[in-house]
């Protein structure tokens, strides 16, 4: 309870920056425990960067290091994402 974490939807702005589209309503399946949950329902930890974790087993779903000129992104597990073509 004292851990400093938010919900995936709370960091939707940064996720949109990375994916180029809104992703909090899409489902992601954890590669570790197999739980499927909306990205917005994942746990978001903010520190030097941003880490999203599975709400069930806390395995890492995505790690985003925010550098001055770019985001460095590590994505894990199964993400089903449809991104608009432009």
């Amino acid at each position: 309870m004292s851990e400093l974490w938010l919900d995936g939807n709370g960091v939707a702005g940064t996720l949109t920056e990375v994916f180029g589209a809104e992703v909090t309503a899409i489902a992601r399946t954890c590669g570790s425990c197999g739980t499927t949950a909306a990205v917005g329902a994942h746990r978001a930890y903010r520190g030097a960067g941003l880490v999203l974790r599975c709400p069930s087993c806390a395995d890492v779903a995505i790690r985003i290091a925010q550098l001055p000129d770019r985001n460095v992104v590590l994505v894990r597990g199964s993400w089903s994402v449809e991104l608009p073509r432009s």
């Binding site: 709370g10 702005g13 909090t24 309503a25 909306a38 917005g40 994402v81 449809e82 608009p84």
Partner: protein, 245 residues
């Protein structure tokens, strides 16, 4: 499941403050004018970015309080005394000032009247803000969807939108004051717990859409109790405040 995503730029825009409304001693509603605002869905938020003269930037997320049918953008911000951004927004900001923001943001913690009810909205303190957008949307569209609002605040003075919160067809409002209660108080007098949630309803078998917003500890307790009562975890949408302001 996959969802077709609508194109959405997350560009920063400059909004102008058109009105400031002191809601409670701690909270201010900021009404903004944004010429190219694309409209929002109830429950969404915006990111606000402040830049100091030396280039230092601080960014926070704030829920949208106005309903999507109002054609305006209003945020309600609660002051966190040792915060970095909220003291500026609640005590320094003036009408006519400009603010840098991006949004609307978020698709998970949202409700449209077309989704119908039953709806269970549970707010702790200023966690009421995004829920108010849903209630304003519901009212503007003349919905009578079964809606229960459970509102927790420390004292009556801390209750946001007190004058606007009225029961309506299909809408029942339950209040709990956790620290101090006026004489003759008829609402609850304790923190939200499982027994309270059971009384407020609707029961899990009616499969309500549940939205819980508030401080981390509040959301944690409420979400756990809801799951214990048998609510589908996938139907429980949560939005926690961070420790920073």
């Amino acid at each position: 499941m996959s969802v077709l995503l609508a194109p959405r730029a997350v560009t920063w825009r400059v909004a102008t403050v058109t009105e400031l409304i002191q809601e409670t001693p701690q909270a201010v509603t900021i009404v903004l004018d944004l010429p190219d605002w694309p409209g929002h869905v109830a429950g969404q938020h915006v990111d606000i970015r402040l830049t100091a003269p030396d280039g230092y930037q601080a960014q926070r997320s704030y829920s949208i309080a106005s309903g999507p049918d109002e054609g305006r953008l209003a945020l309600t911000v609660e002051r966190i005394d040792d915060g970095e951004v909220s003291p500026y927004l609640t005590t320094v900001l003036e009408q006519g000032d400009e603010l840098e923001l991006r949004g609307p943001i978020g698709a998970h913690f949202t409700w449209r009247v077309e989704r119908g009810g039953p709806l269970l909205l549970i707010g702790g303190g200023s966690g009421l803000v995004p829920l108010m957008s849903m209630l304003r949307h519901r009212a503007a569209r003349g919905s009578d969807a079964d809606t229960r609002l459970l509102l927790s605040a420390r004292t009556q003075d801390d209750v946001l939108y007190a004058d606007e919160l009225r029961e309506a067809p299909g809408l029942r409002i339950h209040r709990t004051l956790t620290r101090e209660r006026p004489d003759g108080w008829e609402g609850y007098d304790r923190r939200v717990d499982r027994a309270m949630l059971e009384e407020v309803g609707p029961p899990p078998h009616e499969r309500p859409h549940v939205f819980v917003c508030g401080p981390t500890g509040f959301v944690e307790v409420v979400a756990d109790a809801l799951v214990e009562l048998g609510h589908d975890p996938a139907a429980i949408h949560a939005e926690r405040f961070g420790p920073t302001g």
